[in-house]
Amino acid sequence: MEEANNVVLSNGISMPRLIQGLPLIMKLAKINKAEFIQIVRTSFDAGISAFDTSHDYGKSEEYLKYAFRELEESGVERKCFFVTSKIGNSQQYAGNIEKYVDDSLKTMGLDYLDLMLLHWPVPGLYIDNWKKLEKVYKKGKIKSIGIANAQIRHLKALLSSEIEIVPHVLQTEIHPFNSCEDIRAYCNKNKISLQSCSSLCLMIDKVKYNSLLNELGSKYGKSVAQIMLKWLLQNNVSPVFRAFKQKHIEEMKDLFDFTLSEDDMKKISGLNENYRYHPESVNCAGF
């Protein structure tokens, strides 16, 4: 991938801007190992070299071991792909962060992770667990660390807690219907790189049939998904998306061959209604 398709984190690590999310939960739990490996292979061949998983994503970490093995056997070096995983809430309650990092490494058959996130800012726990994660980072098992689904108040609390490392990445739900302008400004100011999860708001009907997005799709000759991902990229946000079908994966190649005008960017931003597909507190009580 060209350098423009990567972003440099505050610690100098280069992170690809497009990230294939690999949750094998709910309906996706039925995806078998062979299909999963194919998804990873097809993604890599289409230029997507970053993969996002988690302890809480079913068999995702386990299947990634085989997918990475296949990539390496075909001559792809480890440094050519970027792997993100996350510490789940139950793991945060248990607190043995280094063990869970080791578990992820072992499950995925890796020597290091490119990025490890605390999946949620679990109240009363995330700050201490962050400090534990810092220690693991210093040991070299993880190249960068961050937090997911945090709001500004969580970040402020973290930054004012005598931590040594400002999160390199914040991953949170951002898309035109939940534009998070304040979070984006805060992260920009504090040099925290942003990743968006649920970048397409799961293509629910209000998104899929939105007239503005469809009009812009026609205008630029792109799909609604491509318009939304491009809006994110131009807002300096690296989208985590989930494209498991070949044609959707292929669409990602065409994200860097067009630019949304400033006017169109503003129109898309005007869709914001602070709509979160994932209500945070039902994933993290006390959020």
Binding site: M26, N89, S90, Y93, R153, L202, I204, K206, E273, N274, Y275, R276, Y277, H278, P279, E280, S281, V282, N283, A285, G286, F287
Partner: protein
């Protein structure tokens, strides 16, 4: 269920094996062992199925009838409603005070609900609220001393284990202990077995539109409520100043309320204290002195810490009309709609 079957199969196999060995030594002992085991197993299975059967009764369902409005972690991918403008928590009077007809709102009262469970519900469900949403915190009679009730019943707490997050439940001693009630209700309420023979009617109080009591019945019901509260809180004379044994309960209630308000403000919501109205029959018994001791002084103590709006409708004659209630305290559907409209108008919504 699978684990239970597996345990039964394994233990049966083990006992049969031991009996068979024992038969070589003493056939009588072997038979006694088998008899004891199969008797115990039968008793256990009957007990298990009775517990299962009880969950089909109205008595059982009535305990959870006011928990259907919550969209869980499993349900939010199907129910895409987000950004509520207003919700309320609170105990039974709150359940029967609010009905959001023309605004995206929800009643987060499950019926009997203490301040601690109000907070647990807010902790788990608040992200359904829009930024800056209103959260109505009802001050119902004796909220101010609810902290006195330190030993809530297991069935009451078990209701919340059904709707809250599993980690939230497992990390709360009260909730964790009460979970067992959901699968083993007869352990805690063995007398409920009578409902398998003669069940209670289904709870349809939310559907009652009109006043269903005559005035004489309302007056009796009002007296009944006053007696319930006096017994529950061991108050000899309601007209006296706050009894000593309730002082600590008052402090705990203030702390819980302040904690809830702080939680909401930290997240950018707008908490509003609301004293819902009561019927004329009950309001006549709820004298200014009682109101001062158990409501007004409590509200003042909260407002010393947090300057938030307080809407007091207890003495509002418009809502004391008995026709808006189906008993002396609970509003019928017509009453709830009218009252909610008024509260929303007073909030500028």
């Amino acid at each position: 269920m699978k684990r239970r079957k597996k345990k039964i199969v394994l233990s049966t196999t083990f006992i049969i094996f031991i009996s068979a060995l024992l038969a070589f030594v003493n056939i009588g002992l072997s038979l006694i062992l088998l008899l004891l085991y199969f008797t115990s197993l039968s008793v256990y299975l009957v007990y298990y199925f009775l517990n299962k059967l009880i969950t089909f009764t109205n008595w059982w369902h009535n305990q959870f009838v006011y928990t259907q409005q919550f969209i869980s972690n499993a349900g939010y991918r199907k129910d895409l409603t987000r950004n509520y403008e207003v919700v309320n928590v609170g105990s039974n009077p709150a359940r029967f005070s609010f009905f959001y007809e023309d605004i995206l709102g929800e009643n987060w009262s499950t019926g009997t609900q203490g301040l601690d469970m109000d907070l647990e519900i807010l902790r788990y469900f608040h992200s359904y609220l829009k930024k800056g949403a209103y959260v109505l915190l009802p001050i119902v009679p004796f909220s101010s001393v609810s902290g006195y009730l330190t030993k809530p019943s297991i069935p009451y707490i078990a209701k919340f284990t059904k709707i809250l997050d599993s980690l939230q439940v497992n990390n709360n001693v009260k909730l964790r202990t009460a979970k067992e009630y959901l699968t083993n209700p007869l352990k805690y309420k063995w007398k409920a077995i009578k409902y398998l023979v003669k069940d209670v009617p289904k709870d349809n109080r939310l559907d009652i539109v009109e006043q269903s009591m005559q005035l004489s019945e309302m007056k009796q019901d009002a007296l009944r409520w006053m007696k319930i509260w006096k017994d529950e809180f061991k108050i000899e004379t309601l007209e006296s100043s706050l009894p000593e044994h309730l002082q600590n309960g008052r402090i705990v209630s203030i702390e819980m309320m302040n904690h809830m308000i702080s939680f909401l403000l930290e997240r950018g919501y707008k908490p509003v204290l609301v004293s819902p109205p009561m019927s004329k029959s009950l309001a006549e018994l709820f004298t200014p002195q009682i109101k001062e001791t158990y409501i007004d002084s409590f509200v003042r103590d909260i407002m010393k810490v947090y300057d938030i709006p307080y809407l007091d409708y207890i003495d509002n004659e418009e809502f004391q009309n008995n026709s808006l209630y189906f008993n002396a305290l609970f509003m019928n559907l017509r009453g709830r709609k009218l009252f909610t409209k008024r509260v929303l108008a007073d909030l500028g919504l």
